[in-house]
């Protein structure tokens, strides 16, 4: 006992010593830091810090010996407490954005750049021409160049768009776009900068009459602010557009999760896009020519539908609105809401405990009131949101791209009527290519698209895959093992277009399984499947007829031989019998 105590005592003293040395060191570093971030607003963070340390003090006071709690401690700690920048957060959690392996990092970079380019071109009404090049510096380091013929970006915006996370025009818009949060391309640039030290190179030209601007950009991760390393005007041989060049640590691979496969799929869902692609291995560039010269109809922006809004968002919107009554707010901020509809909300709230007066000022509603109102909205029948905001690929064009990419025997495409989940309009399209150059006897290849963007990962977790597996392929003359994808010479594409595609995670890999979405997907596949079955049955009937004709020729002589053997017939008798039998069977086959 005594010995133990003695040791414990020793420990305490040594600990105290160590602490004191540490304190000195941290003092030194924090002073240096203070110098760096002079501009940062200090008072706020100190205030926060004091609160935290106060609680800590009371909790830990007992364990620590009479040490020096005199305010010094809290000050020291305060120096370490500060805001976490979004950029820093993502630099440390790169897997959330698709940079978890070198192979994926390269693919993600191309994906983000391509998404951005296509959205930019379409918004500006330009039929997109994409040029993509991946060059190897060494097997673990590559340069990605993506150029479009879009409108270009003005000088002032360039740094923000490419070198600041969560900056963009799409997040707030309720319309069908490829990118959503504005993280992608800047994250790719940041990743490249982190792994190779090289800044992102952006060239943009907005008009034939103006020279192109070349910028070298990096992100100040602590502040989530762009840093322009170098800026020049240069000559380029293209009239307008934007080119992004990122050098990064990444490995080039072929296969299902490759850049090649990604671009192939982009070409499937975007019939109006021409893509030229040079990869580090093959000599010849790969070119996908457009099958349509006109842009798809531009998706329109719509107001949110009351059934899609979450309680927290509703509260936020009510705080920020300029409307002076709840009724006015609802009519102004949501689609399909009229004063009449608002009255119905109010009626519904009566049954939920308290009638919410919709003439009140939205900012005066208590959180409990908003909660009841939210429930009342959910209970009210409201007209579905307008669906002209969606831009499907279309049956004809989808058929054309399927033919171009797979050279199949038959193509079937189905575009469903738009539908709604949680107040969000969406539309599902399915395409099946069968036979021809497609390999047989394998599981069907599945191509999943959300707002024309290919989904390459987490196939199993995706509503698209689930709906394909759940479809009765055997009824469509296609083999299918229980709980598996169908087997055969088959490629299936499924596209969901929506103002807000529900993904299972931030990195947009798989569509979440909402009942309404699953149902529409299944209906699309089933419609396509039935058409496929019609084709296959007809084909089989013809083959059967052919085979039966052969059957008659093949087996009748055997019957003849057997009868001759048993009944000791002459050759003439046998030939005669065979002839008559052939006649009889031929006649019955035709009937």
């Amino acid at each position: 006992m005594t010995r133990k105590k003695a040791r414990a005592g020793n420990k305490k003293t040594s600990k105290a010593k160590r602490k004191s040395t540490k304190k000195k060191a941290s003092k030194a570093t924090s002073r240096r830091q203070g110098g760096l971030f002079d501009s940062e607003p200090q008072p706020k963070s100190t205030r926060k810090a004091r609160k935290k340390t106060a609680s800590k003090k009371s909790g830990s006071a007992k364990q620590r010996s009479s040490a020096t709690i005199d305010g010094e401690m809290a000050k020291e700690m305060a120096k370490k407490q500060k805001d976490i920048s979004v950029s820093e957060f993502f630099a440390k959690n790169r897997h959330l954005l698709g940079f978890d392996s070198p192979a994926r990092a390269l693919l993600t970079t191309v994906r983000e750049a391509v998404d951005n380019s296509l959205d930019a071109c379409e918004e500006a009404g330009v039929v997109p021409d994409l040029f993509i090049e991946v060059k190897a510096i060494n097997p673990d380091q590559h340069v990605v160049i993506v150029r479009d013929n879009g409108p270009g970006i003005v000088r002032e915006q360039l740094p923000k768009i490419f070198a600041r996370l969560l900056y963009g025009s799409k997040f707030h818009a309720r319309k069908q776009t490829r990118g959503q949060q504005g993280i992608g391309i800047s994250a790719a640039g940041m990743y490249g900068n982190l792994t190779t030290g090289k800044p992102m190179r952006v060239i943009s030209r907005t008009s034939r009459r103006k020279p192109a601007i070349e910028l070298f950009l990096a992100i100040d991760m602590a502040k989530n602010q762009p840093m322009v390393k170098k800026e020049v005007e240069i000559e380029v041989d293209w009239a307008h557009g934007t080119q992004v060049q990122i050098e990064l640590e990444g490995t080039y691979k072929k296969g299902k999760h490759s850049i090649d496969s990604f671009l192939d799929q982009v070409s499937l869902a975007n019939p109006h896009v021409r893509i030229e692609y040079i990869n580090p291995i093959d000599e010849e560039p790969v070119i996908w020519d457009r099958v349509s010269k006109s842009l798809p109809e531009a998706p329109r922006e719509i107001l949110p539908h009351p059934h899609g809004v979450e309680l927290g968002i509703l509260m936020q919107m009510m705080k920020e609105t300029s409307a002076r009554t709840v009724s006015g707010f609802m009519c102004q901020e949501f689609c399909r809401v009229t004063p009449n509809v608002v009255r119905k909300f109010s009626d519904e709230t009566e049954g939920l405990g308290r009638r919410i007066d919709t003439d009140r000022h939205p900012k005066r509603l208590s959180p409990a009131d908003v909660k009841i109102l939210h429930k009342g909205i959910a209970a009210t029948r409201i007209m579905a949101p307008p669906t002209n905001c969606l831009s499907p690929i279309g049956e004809e064009l989808m058929g054309k791209t399927l033919r171009r990419n797979f050279n199949p025997e038959i193509v079937i495409t189905v575009t469903r009527q738009p539908s709604v989940y949680r107040g969000n309009p969406f539309q599902v399209e399915a395409g099946i290519a069968w036979g021809g150059d497609l390999p047989g006897d394998d599981l069907a290849s599945i191509y999943r698209f959300a707002n024309r963007v290919p989904l390459q990962y987490e196939q199993g977790a995706c509503a698209i895959t689930q709906s394909i597996v759940a479809s009765p392929w055997k009824n469509y003359e296609v083999q299918q093992a229980r709980g598996a994808l169908p087997t055969g010479s088959l490629a299936i594409i499924l596209h969901i277009a929506s103002v807000w595609v529900p993904f299972t995670s931030e990195s947009k890999k798989a569509v979440a399984s909402y009942d309404e979405i699953l149902k529409e997907m299944r209906l699309a596949i089933m419609e396509a499947g039935r058409k496929l079955a019609t084709h296959l049955r007809k084909k089989r009937r013809l083959a059967d007829a052919e085979r039966k004709k052969d059957y008659i020729k093949t087996y009748i002589p055997q019957i003849g031989i057997a009868l001759q053997e048993i009944l000791e017939l002459s050759d003439t008798q046998r030939t005669k019998a065979e002839g008559k039998l052939a006649d009889v069977l031929e006649r019955s086959r035709k009937m």
């Binding site: 008659i552 093949t554 087996y555 031989i561 019998a577 008559k580 019955s588």
Partner: protein, 383 residues
């Protein structure tokens, strides 16, 4: 046996064989002739097969075996059936040829023979077996058995020992082989796959058909047949066709009873004994040849378990299912009240006992006590 008797015996066998062979060939030719005529009249030929399923099976007490019913299925020659038709006819041709050359073929032989049939050849033995079953069913209507069609099973029959002389005539040399089943020492006579030509000499009082090789060996090595004056047959599980046919011929020719000695469990009762006595349900078209209606059940009976205090095992789920199935669906057990009662009793007891469980009372208890006690009262055997 004098030369004269031997010659007359051989002659009789030959005459019998010739009569049978003619019948076989006639049947085949008649069937083929019908088809040929139909073809020449530009009609669609067809074959009529008895339906081979339990729904078309009945038990006739007087006849004493499970009998196939009148239901027939017709197979018309169409584009879809042309291959099967050609194969059936070619196999009939093969059968006729086998009869004429006095040869035989096993299932496997037939399969390989078909390789000469160009496109009508079989790609798998299961296909040729199916066609063979069809032909067998087809001709069973004319009382022609598979053996008479010269298709013999691959499997061996059981083992025989005891007071029996089997006469196996060699038709080529005119000699008759006399096989004395008392003189196999510690071994036994093995029943051939075809038994139609055999004849018997015996003074034995009964045939004892035994399920397991273990009990057979014990009875054989202690020459039980001598003391009990009987013939021992080892069935080794469900008796094969030739074993059933052998026992049947022996019992018919020599007018001696057959006693079955099997395990007391639903398998021993409803599979082994039932098949021995009245034939099997799924091959009902051949039962008339391959059953032993004179058989009765010596033991082990459910009552024996109690009387002899036998060690038991609990009935397994499959046993219970089998027993209930027998009670519910099997026309044989349904027509025998004593059997229904015995099965009910067994189910109620919930146990089973093997014939070898008698060894608990001493290895030779079965010879010294059990069998003599049982054989003193054959009238009490289960039907």
């Amino acid at each position: 046996m004098s030369k004269k008797i031997a010659k007359s015996f051989i002659d009789r066998v030959k005459r019998e064989n010739a009569r049978r062979d003619k019948k076989t060939v006639d049947s085949i030719e008649r069937t083929a002739q019908e088809i040929y005529k139909k073809i020449m009249r530009k009609g669609k030929p067809m074959l009529r097969f008895p339906v081979r399923s339990l729904s078309n099976v009945s038990y006739d007490k007087k006849k004493g075996y499970l009998e196939i019913g009148r239901a027939r299925k017709e197979r018309t020659l169409t584009v879809n059936t042309v291959k099967g038709f050609a194969q059936t006819l070619r196999m009939m041709g093969l059968s006729r040829e086998l009869v004429q050359t006095n040869d035989f073929a096993t299932k496997r032989d037939v399969y390989y023979q078909s390789k000469n049939w160009a496109e009508a050849k079989f790609t798998d033995q299961s296909e040729s077996d199916t066609v063979m079953d069809d032909i067998e069913a087809l001709f069973s209507v004319d009382d022609v058995s598979r053996e008479q069609l010269r298709f013999v099973p691959d499997e061996h029959g059981g083992a025989v020992a005891g007071e029996l002389v089997v006469l196996d005539p060699d038709l080529d040399s005119g000699e008759i082989e006399r096989i004395d089943c008392t003189r196999f020492g510690s071994g036994a006579y093995s029943i051939p796959s075809s038994v139609e030509h055999l004849s018997f000499e015996t003074d034995a009082k009964f045939v004892l058909a035994i399920e397991t090789g273990g009990i057979f060996q014990r009875l054989q090595s202690h020459k039980f047949w001598k003391s009990a004056d009987c013939i021992l047959v080892s069935m080794a599980g469900v008796p094969t066709r030739s074993t059933r046919r052998f026992i049947r011929k022996l019992s018919d020719q020599k007018k001696i009873p057959v006693y079955a000695f099997v395990d007391c469990d639903p398998y021993g009762i409803s599979n082994i004994y039932r098949t021995l006595k009245v034939g099997s349900g799924n091959a009902a078209h051949i039962n008339r040849f391959f059953c032993v209606p004179s058989a009765s059940f010596l033991g082990v009976t459910p009552q024996d378990i109690i009387d002899y205090k036998l060690p038991t095992h609990p009935l397994k789920d499959v046993d219970i299912k089998r027993a209930k199935d027998a009670l519910k669906n099997d026309p044989f057990f349904q027509s025998k009240k004593k059997w229904s009662a015995a099965l009910e009793q067994l189910l109620k007891m919930g146990v089973r006992a093997e014939q070898q469980s008698l060894a608990m009372w001493g290895l030779n208890y079965v010879i010294e006590e059990y069998l003599p006690a049982k054989l003193a009262n054959p009238g009490k055997f289960l039907p």
